[in-house]
């Protein structure tokens, strides 16, 4: 009989980044008891890495902006396979969520008349991102954290959930271990909100930290929930490429928002060479106009560097592939050039992009005020996730909610920069409120003892198998299997995809799922990262299979999903989402689910903004 502690909460929130914190605050405000589980220490979640800002049509810088423009921009960026209800709610509610942060102590950069300043970003028609230099995410998570700890929320730091329990159809609890001592905890909850973020660790080049192993996606899937849009992974166009140890670290889109340009080895500004038809009308066709745009000229159109991330990433891949890349396999991102335009350019750059300045100076010995950066695509974000109801954020499992990156729908095939932070706030709040409502309407649910015993046994199984700690003898070590998986996904289901390669990758992932059941770990249960990696592996393998299956099914190119063998968009594929569900036989089942028709008034908004 395993030893464990049982803890009861009305609402359990799993994940303590922006979405989880906002959900916990919202649930606590409804008067229910709330537990908040963080995989790391509080305030360290990946939200701190968000740099550019949060998109909300406050209209402080350009008063032509409103929710309708933001809605249309989000749908266009997502190539119209978004959950339109979420896109509508997001555009309508984001301004209030930003203002609310200010009421909780956030300090955004200001306009000359003292209001919240907004900056340009890819795919947004008007300057829309409320920001704090290039550390907006830190400001947001700290504000939520410092406000949240006074709302009576029970915080469980450095605690990882390994499985969810169900009572009949509905969710009833979670099984977790604490990192510090490796002790088990059983959470009993009337409702659960998943806010676990992304899946970046499935790839070898990523901007994501060790935590982003698709936990929420996988927990929900194994609890019977439906995943959707898993083929849509966002490769951010600008990650660091040199030196090797920093490969993948994010370089904010804010660099381009402040006037940074992309150049190939021939010094050519290649983004002008390929402007998609649906963006032609709103994109500058010469450098002069692009510069005027970033300087705030309302009559200018935005430079092609601020096209959507999927497109910019592919243009960079093309330049590198055709031999016009930089020495370390990227292209150049140049902000230093503005010194010819602005008298105090170096100071301006340091003020607007302080962490970028710091990051390159410290990690690459490069002064970005004088020297161009080398950048290339990095796995950044997954648009796909848990299928949820647009209003309540409830998954297909009653009582199980999802918000933020682990939920699907808002971003469709491609997310616009800046729409993530606002997503966290808008849908974090909604998920927390509806989860509290669900908890009040439904009584307690039971956690089955056999389920607890099974979860404990599975969690401890890696200790039963011997390994010599380097994966070469005995059974395989967890790090080497994870590394193998990352290479498979990077090479087989990466930025540019082909049927045969994806098929091979899927086979290899399925084989790895077998070897992972043999993975062994050394040491004991106290703060043992080898053990943690072994347990996270199961999640990574589940979502990798989901990504590969969905990507093979979508035989077209759209948003973050680009197929070399089907390079065009196919209108047929714009009518449905691809969903994945665990079948009765335990195998992954794929389905094409039609997108419900959009109401006439939303259709009219899109027509009007074309």
């Amino acid at each position: 009989m395993p030893d464990y502690e049982t803890i009861d909460h009305d609402v359990l929130v799993i994940g303590a980044g922006g979405a989880g914190l906002r959900a916990a605050i919202a649930a606590a405000a409804e008067g229910v008891t709330v537990g908040l589980v963080c995989k790391s220490l509080l305030g360290k979640a990946h939200t701190v890495m968000a740099e550019g800002g949060m998109a909300a049509s406050l209209g402080n810088v350009d008063d032509r902006d409103n929710w309708r423009v933001h809605f249309a921009d989000t749908m266009r960026g997502g190539q119209y396979v978004n959950n339109w209800r979420m896109a509508e709610l997001h555009a309508k509610e984001a301004p209030d969520r930003v203002r609310e942060l200010e009421a909780w102590g956030a300090l955004f950069d200001r306009t000359p008349d003292g209001r919240i300043l907004q900056r340009n970003f890819g795919g947004h028609r008007y300057p829309r991102l409320a920001h704090v230099g290039d550390r907006t995410g830190l400001e947001m998570i700290r504000t939520l954290q410092d406000h949240g700890v006074h709302q009576g929320i029970d915080v469980h730091m450095e605690c990882t959930v390994v499985t969810l329990f169900r009572d009949g159809d509905r969710v009833s609890g979670a099984f977790a271990y604490d990192r510090e001592r490796g002790r088990f905890r059983v959470f009993r909850a009337k409702a659960i909100v998943l806010a676990t973020g992304g899946i970046g660790r499935a790839y070898s080049i990523t901007s994501n930290s060790w935590e982003y192993t698709g936990d929420g996606h996988s927990l929900a899937y194994h609890a019977g929930a439906v995943l959707q849009d898993m083929e849509f992974v966002q490769f951010h166009p600008t990650g660091m490429v040199w030196p090797p140890s920093v490969k993948g670290i994010l370089v904010t889109e804010g660099v381009r928002g402040e006037g940074g340009i992309l150049l190939n080895s021939e010094g050519r500004r290649f983004m002008f060479d390929d402007i998609p038809d649906n963006y032609r009308a709103q994109t500058a066709d010469n450098e002069e106009e692009g510069w005027r745009y970033v300087q705030g000229d309302k009559n200018a159109r935005r430079p092609p560097e601020l096209l959507t991330r999927d497109h910019v990433a592919r243009c960079i891949v093309r330049e590198v592939r055709e031999g016009r890349g930089s020495p370390h396999g990227g292209v150049y991102l140049d902000i230093a050039w503005i010194k010819g335009r602005l008298p105090d350019a170096p100071e301006h750059i340091k003020k607007k992009l302080p962490s970028m300045y710091h990051q390159f100076k410290q990690l690459a010995d490069i002064d970005i005020t004088t020297t161009p950066m080398e950048v290339g695509p990095t796995t950044h974000y997954v648009m796909g996730g848990i299928r949820v109801d647009g209003d309540s954020q409830m998954s297909t499992v009653p009582g199980l909610f999802a918000a933020g990156e682990c939920a699907a729908g808002l971003h469709g095939a491609n997310r616009l920069g800046g729409n993530s932070l606002s997503d966290l706030l808008v849908f974090g709040k909604r998920a927390g409120e509806y989860a509290a409502k669900f908890a009040r309407q439904h009584g307690s649910a039971a956690v089955d003892q056999a389920g607890v015993d099974g979860a404990a046994r599975l969690s401890l199984a890696p200790f039963e198998r011997t390994t010599n700690g380097n994966g070469t003898g005995g059974t395989a070590g967890p790090y080497h299997i994870q590394q193998r998986l990352q290479t498979i996904m990077q090479d087989g289901v990466g930025i540019v995809r082909r049927e045969a390669e994806m098929g091979r990758a899927l086979d290899e992932v399925l084989q790895l799922q077998q070897s992972a059941t043999h993975v062994g770990v050394t040491g004991n249960r106290e703060y043992n990262p080898g053990w943690h990696t072994a347990l996270d592996l199961a999640n990574l393998l589940t979502i990798s299979e989901a990504i590969a299956r969905a990507a093979i099914e979508r035989k077209e190119s759209r948003g973050g999903h680009f197929r070399d063998d089907y390079p065009e968009k196919d209108p047929q594929y714009g009518t449905f989402n691809i969903t994945l569900k665990k079948g009765a036989d335990g195998r992954m089942q794929l389905e094409r689910v039609p997108i419900p028709p959009m109401p006439a008034e939303l259709k009219a908004v899109i027509e009007e903004m074309k």
Binding site: S40, D146, S209, V246, S355, E526, P529
Partner: protein, 292 residues
């Protein structure tokens, strides 16, 4: 902290022969794939003397691992973890100096492991990597920093003045915001707490909140919208008087926050104004009344 302070070095087991690892130098748990290293990259190794143990004691253990261009200490720790010691405990997240998780003492200096470049360290002798000393060790490089979270909760939270505009929003000047934004850059790595002698050497954790939370209090006190008063707490509950301005905290701050000059000294001045300057106090009360 105990045994770690008297280094008793042991050779790590399972040290891979560097020659057999050519072309396989990528940090497995890091971001880049091994293929990112060019075939002709110069191969060399370095030795890391890592503290391994727990609350009951520990020792320094040597690990030799390949190094490549641009590597930071955290990369080396990850390589060791992947290849030689799967259970080596280390706390880290962003690996970009933004989350403040990987604080440690490298060759005795408090630093973020993810921002400590190997080319800035002498690699001809072992690089010592130890946990922060001002906190109780949990395991290996991980310490118990939960005290910090408890302390923060005791500081009175943000309380804004009434909104300036009918739509419920405020107006603030960028200049006023700038001053506080410096403090809000803090990534809560707790290196300033680690190096503060009041905590590190005198263990005044119950009486003194430490530089991190004096910065936090300063950010609230100087927030253009905040109307709460924390001055009495700073003196009585938070022990601001313990700080004797040695500026060690400022020296180690990875965000380059001018902790002592910009945060602590102005707070000390407020405490002095409030408690040790009766005339000034009277003037303040009087002017406050006039405003009402």
């Amino acid at each position: 902290m105990s045994a770690g302070m008297q280094p008793r070095t042991e050779k790590g087991t399972g040290v891979a022969d560097p020659k057999s690892r050519i072309g396989d130098t990528g940090p497995v748990a890091g971001r880049s794939s091994p293929s990112a290293v060019p075939q002709n990259a110069p191969q060399s190794t370095a030795t890391f003397r890592v503290w391994r143990g727990d609350e009951s004691g520990g020792k320094l253990v040597d690990y030799t691992t390949p190094v490549s261009e641009g590597m930071v200490v955290l990369d080396a720790i990850h390589q060791i973890q992947a290849d030689q010691a799967n259970d080596l405990a280390v706390r880290w997240n962003c690996k970009a100096g933004k989350c403040g998780s990987c604080s440690a003492e490298i060759n005795g200096k408090p630093k973020l492991m993810c921002m400590a470049r190997l080319n800035e360290l002498p690699l001809d002798k072992p690089v010592t990597v130890e946990p922060m000393r001002a906190f109780k060790p949990i395991r290996d490089l991980v310490t118990d920093v939960s005290w910090n979270f408890r302390v923060k909760q005791e500081i009175k939270p943000f309380r804004p003045r009434k909104p300036d505009a009918p739509d419920g929003t405020w107006r603030m000047d960028q200049r006023d915001v700038d001053r506080v934004q410096e403090f809000r850059k803090c990534i809560e790595c707790f290196l300033c707490q680690d190096v503060c002698h009041v905590l590190r050497d005198h263990n005044k954790h119950e009486e003194f909140i430490g530089p991190r939370f004096l910065v936090y209090a300063a950010a609230l006190e100087m927030h253009p919208l905040d109307v709460e008063d924390r001055v009495a707490d700073l003196k009585r509950e938070h022990g601001i008087g313990f700080c004797n301005i040695t500026k060690c905290c400022t020296a180690v701050c990875p965000e380059h926050i001018t902790i002592t000059d910009n945060a602590i000294i102005p707070l000390k001045e407020r405490v002095i104004d409030e408690f040790y300057d009766p005339l000034g106090r009277l003037v303040k009360i009087f002017s406050r009344r006039k405003k009402d």
